[in-house]
């Protein structure tokens, strides 16, 4: 039985991943913003076999509350061995271009607040010398593109942060997993047009579950995004800057 903390637990990808943990009879602590939603998710996971499910309500932008909610999670789970951070907001790029306050908010939610959580979590796992930190970043962080570079910058910063953290925690036997999903059909992307590259949250969840079990470093989900992003990264900048991506 693992002791798992899921932050952003009502997101579609987190819910699907949590179902897989529940089937393994893991103990879960959920953090999210909306109590009604958390209650529905917690009841579901309990029925699906989770050893224990507790939850706490928090707007994750309130970074001064982070330590308290982490303490609550450690207490409820009586320890901690796996953390999944699965929240984010896909802000309107055009709005962010017009209003720096919006851009700043996007960076806060998708990058700074995650750093605020990761710092105490990493210190704790480093001390106990075991565990796994899995964080959902995005393929958008692999290269800046005009269509979503504010979100991309936040996720790119996050990916870089995780890379460094992985390097630091290697000697403490703590695994740091960077998850880079491509297009996923979730409420966050409800207003976007869907095509052949879109994946279901269930598919991405299975990938996350596997990657955590195998203690991977970086995973693209579904896998073909690895190839797509490889090609996108290889395009020379003089050409890339003229492309409409």
């Amino acid at each position: 039985m693992r002791k798992i903390l899921i932050i952003g637990a009502t997101s579609a990808i987190a819910q699907e991943t949590a179902k897989l943990f529940a089937q393994e009879q893991d103990a879960l602590f959920l953090v999210g913003r909306d109590a009604e939603k958390l209650e529905a998710v917690a009841a579901d996971l309990k029925v699906r076999g989770a050893h224990k499910v507790a939850y706490s309500c928090l707007d994750l932008n309130e970074v001064q509350q982070h330590q308290a909610v982490l303490d609550e999670a450690y207490k409820s789970l009586d320890g901690l061995d796996t953390v999944l951070i699965a929240y984010g907001s896909l802000d309107d790029q055009k709005a962010c271009e017009q209003d720096s306050a919006k851009a700043e908010q996007a960076l806060r939610t998708n990058f700074l607040s995650v750093v605020s959580l990761l710092t105490p979590i990493a210190n704790r796992l480093e001390r106990q010398r075991y565990g796994c930190i899995a964080v959902i970043s995005s393929v958008a962080g692999d290269r800046g593109r005009q269509s979503n570079y504010v979100y991309g910058a936040a996720k790119g910063g996050l990916s870089l942060f995780l890379q460094g953290l992985r390097n630091r925690l290697q000697s403490a036997n703590v695994c740091v997993l960077t998850i880079k999903p491509g297009f996923v059909d979730t409420p966050m992307t409800a207003n976007l047009k869907k095509g052949a590259l879109w994946a279901k949250p269930q598919t991405v969840a299975r990938g996350i579950f596997r990657a955590i079990s195998r203690r991977r470093n970086v995973v693209y989900l579904p896998w073909f995004w690895w190839l797509i992003m490889l090609i996108i990264r290889l395009i020379p900048e003089p050409i890339f800057k003229r492309m409409k991506l």
Partner: protein
């Protein structure tokens, strides 16, 4: 969001917008005052009962959470978008099974209630609605009605078999059935004529929980077929070693049937050849064996997108029930279908029992029911079905709205004279393509 949502028969083609329902406890955000909405689960209804041309579909697949499972009593409460497959996956290892299941597990519990589905055990368990203990109905004005046989009982009755028109079911609670193992004791018996079917049916209904027959609607040997009957294994029959294949695991490409077959592939000759082979595959008169519940209940689920067998024009499924006091009419209908040469493979025949459904507008009634597919071959197909509607009406039968895409208002209202009473409980903002056609 515009969508390409279709029903299982790929007919009719419609255009509608999608509003996903994500959380059962949140209110429905209603669109423009002139728009109508319709709940839509997995879209396995064949015709237009799950479509709302020009309107909005409230898709319920995201409300797919379990709420409570009483393992001792076998009472399960879950959100309306949970599929029967998900329920089975949870319950079978705990020794519980669906009280009633249709021929596919890929339907939501909300859809099962709204169509008051039936299965191979109708003769002893009745419809799905009989096993629904309670549910919550969310109306467009925001009111939430807790419906049970004793509270809001009118809405309870109207919503079971209510074709999704009375409001949005947000969650439901059902009573499951005890089983001892996932295996089934199954028997298949060849019969060469219809009278033999009725005899087998009568003998079997007493001793077997599940009975159904496949009959050949195309050959000269009209009325030949194979009778299937089975029970969940009893405690003393539990196999020690159970590693039999569950669903036939075809390679993924075959399983999903990625392309539509061109229309000419299914013609009179190929279909009757298939039917003959299917009949002759069974060498002995009676075959008895242990099988897993999945192939027993859901043989077609092994090929996920089997509808594409019928090509891009789609197909119509026709299911009716008529009283079986004399077998004259069922024979006459089978002859009409046989003579037309339009029917497809695998016509399914079953006798319904006497157990009444709580549903106001439910389809099943005592008698014999036949279901079969018709690839759409233009006007001839529609004319044939219109003729069959007439025959069904003549003897006081009914056609199943869940599978229908073309029934006339005149016939619908003759089959379901209670529709005017039902209409009082229809939510003013809810409508469907089918409902507008038949009222």
């Amino acid at each position: 969001m515009q969508s390409t949502y279709q029903s299982w028969g790929s007919f009719p083609k419609v255009s509608q917008r999608i509003r996903p329902i994500r959380w059962g406890k949140k209110p429905i955000s209603l669109p423009e005052p002139s728009d109508t909405v319709l709940p839509h689960g997995l879209g396995r209804s064949y015709g237009d009962v799950c479509l709302n041309d020009g309107g909005i579909l409230l898709t319920t697949r995201s409300i797919n959470r379990f709420i409570e499972f009483d393992i001792d009593e076998g009472v399960l409460r879950c959100e309306a978008g949970v599929s029967l497959a998900e329920i089975l996956e949870l319950c079978v290892p705990q020794g519980w099974f669906l009280p009633v299941t249709p021929g596919t597990q890929f339907v939501t519990i909300g859809g099962a209630i709204a169509n008051d589905v039936h299965g191979k055990n109708h003769h002893c368990a009745g419809t799905f609605g009989r096993h629904v203990l309670q549910f919550e109905l969310l109306r467009s004005d925001g009111e939430r009605l807790l419906c049970t046989p004793t509270s809001n009982e009118q809405y309870y009755a109207a919503t079971i078999g209510g074709l999704g028109l009375t409001g949005l079911i947000t969650w439901a609670e059902i009573k499951l059935k005890r089983i001892h193992h996932r295996a089934m004791q199954a028997e298949s018996i060849q019969f060469s004529e219809l009278d033999e079917f009725f005899e087998l049916s009568q003998q079997s209904d007493q001793y077997y929980d599940y009975t159904v027959a496949w009959i050949d609607c195309n050959s000269q040997a009209l009325g030949r077929g194979i009778f299937f009957r089975g029970n969940h294994v009893a405690p003393d029959e539990i196999p020690n070693d159970w590693n039999l294949p569950r669903l036939n695991r075809l390679p993924p490409l075959l399983r999903t049937m990625p392309i539509n077959l061109p229309g000419f592939v299914l013609n009179r000759w190929t279909i009757s050849t298939f039917n003959s082979l299917y009949y002759k595959k069974q060498r002995q008169k009676i075959v008895s064996k242990l099988v897993d519940y999945e192939p027993f209940f859901y043989p077609l689920d092994a090929i996920l997108e089997w509808k594409q067998l019928y090509g891009k024009n789609g197909f119509l499924q026709y299911q009716f029930v008529i009283p079986d006091n004399d077998h004259r009419m069922i024979k006459e209908i089978l002859q009409t279908i046989g003579a037309s040469g339009l029917g497809s493979f695998l016509a399914v025949l079953k006798t319904f029992g006497e157990l009444a459904s709580p549903g106001m507008l439910s389809f099943p009634r005592p008698g014999v029911t036949l279901a079969l597919d018709f690839p759409i071959k233009g006007a001839v197909t529609f004319e044939l079905l219109e003729r069959l509607d007439e025959k069904v009406r003549e003897v006081g039968g009914a056609v199943y709205p869940c599978k229908d895409a073309r029934l006339s208002a005149r016939h619908f209202q003759a089959y379901y004279p209670q529709w005017t009473e039902f209409a009082q409980y229809v939510d003013p903002r809810f409508s469907s393509s089918l409902w507008r056609r038949v009222t």
